[in-house]
Symmetry: C2
Subunit: 342 residues, 2 copies
Amino acid sequence: MSELKSKFMEVYTILKAELLNDPAFEFTDVSRQWVDRMLDYNVPGGKLNRGLSVIDSYKLLKEGKELSEEEIFLTSALGWCIEWLQAYFLVLDDIMDNSVTRRGQPCWFRVPKVGLIAVNDGIMLRNHIPRILKKHFRGKAYYVDLLDLFNEVEFQTASGQMIDLITTIEGEKDLSKYSLPLHHRIVQYKTAYYSFYLPVACALLMAGENLDNHIDVKNILIEMGTYFQVQDDYLDCFGHPDVIGKIGTDIEDFKCSWLVVKALELATEEQKKLLHENYGKADEASVNKVKELYNVLDLEGVFTDYESKSYQKLISSIEAHPSNAVQAVLKSFLAKIYKRQK
Amino acid sequence: MSELKSKFMEVYTILKAELLNDPAFEFTDVSRQWVDRMLDYNVPGGKLNRGLSVIDSYKLLKEGKELSEEEIFLTSALGWCIEWLQAYFLVLDDIMDNSVTRRGQPCWFRVPKVGLIAVNDGIMLRNHIPRILKKHFRGKAYYVDLLDLFNEVEFQTASGQMIDLITTIEGEKDLSKYSLPLHHRIVQYKTAYYSFYLPVACALLMAGENLDNHIDVKNILIEMGTYFQVQDDYLDCFGHPDVIGKIGTDIEDFKCSWLVVKALELATEEQKKLLHENYGKADEASVNKVKELYNVLDLEGVFTDYESKSYQKLISSIEAHPSNAVQAVLKSFLAKIYKRQK
Ligand SMILES: [Mg+2]
Ligand SMILES: [Mg+2]
Ligand SMILES: [Mg+2]
Ligand SMILES: [Mg+2]
Ligand SMILES: [Mg+2]
Ligand SMILES: [Mg+2]
């Protein structure tokens, strides 16, 4: 484990201990143990890219100046707030999608004796964020902006989830609703704001910046997030389950994936018919027919092409930004995801 | 409908229209309609006591001074935030409890095509609260205190839900865990903070008060909330389904209800055995045996006794408070729930 990551994990231990002794609630022993286990199961087991990038971004904004112990702690705490937010959304998303595995282990709601208590556990995860913020940021000038930021980004994420969910309602499976603009809208809201904009926005606030002056940064990060989700859609089908940590089910789940949207765009009438007949069915034969079509249409090649064009476009936008420190933040972000395999 | 209530409903219409046109999200037509219907189904159909009491309390704090149009709007908006919070908790609670009806209609997740999308709808309801607060209170001196207040109360409510849920885990049904102190703790957190303390705290903040100076008011309201939940437990079994708007299932659901806790306290060894054998079973015969025992133990009489003693105790605490305006707020609250039938 890198030094940065082990420092980051130390902060997790501290935050967890504080939450398990929060004076706003009188824990019973059983409930304290429950939260302890629930946090360990759901919060720290991911790639932690979102969380770590708050620290990275803040360092770059400080242009190489050594961070104080307090700055390291606070950027880490904000990073963990994003990881908590992610955990909250994933726990609930897995319930709604009836998923099986997450990060190489059973989804939380599938753990014996958890079941639908996982709904409230998701809510608990979400509620820990303002507890962390209040404890460590209440006296800061940017405290209210932090609260507003987390609230707005959560709202956008939940709204993105909503359009994702209602376009895939059981019994109304209609591929003709799917298009690139719809895909873009879902992705922008359900992934890009919290995964890309939020970490950088946290770092900007800590550096004393006013977010209203950084709309251009937001737009670039949202574009980057869109690119990231296209990768996610791609890996769901073409990635290796052992590497990505889950078995992709976008085809079975009738997801508005970039792959199916591209396939619809490129397909002949006959191929479209095949898609309409087989997309969103759970049986292996149907899934394989869809995958074969993806191969016939060379979606791997189409994706590779999309990937390099997105990269070029993002680099140009980044290099147009007046601040070198901000450029460094954005480039570091992009480098982390370009050509990722998981 | 009273004039106050129809004014209050007008504010609902305004807030809903604002939320359906929130610039932080690009709605599709379908998603706007979805939220519209979801709000109408879940938010305004209750008794609205919590929401209306923000206005009532604020009026009493102003000691009869006529409220301005702005004050009426803002107190109503805060009242609606509490109704939104309640709707959020009820939508998710019904999923977790596998409930059938709510406020005389099917639970939201049972509505065709909704299903587990209701989880995200609950989240949407929750996310609307900071949207409303930001739009209408961002410039107020007490804005950050409002955010902190809603965050803390939500945390306490979710924590109360958690102990409620984990004490009733399937396969670990063990009545010997149930006691008056556990019951009190569940009730205090899952009901009293948001139903009793929150409306008055909102009114106090709007009146320019510092909540740290009103710990005594908080304690009295928490006691009142406990009494309210005991009534709720009582009505679940002894109330009329047409009047309370739902069919009680606390016995079937193995709930840590005040009734079963009292029964355990009063029962002979033989009666305890009967309780252990029949509590938490879904079949009518078992449920009826529990209800018969409740009658044999005269829990109606025990409840009536509890009710008048609680009332006396609350009145004494209220009359010990130095401010007449605050006394009026607390007495008005108590009058609304004393001897309620629904
Ligand atoms: Mg999912
Ligand atoms: Mg999903
Ligand atoms: Mg995916
Ligand atoms: Mg319930
Ligand atoms: Mg419940
Ligand atoms: Mg009840």
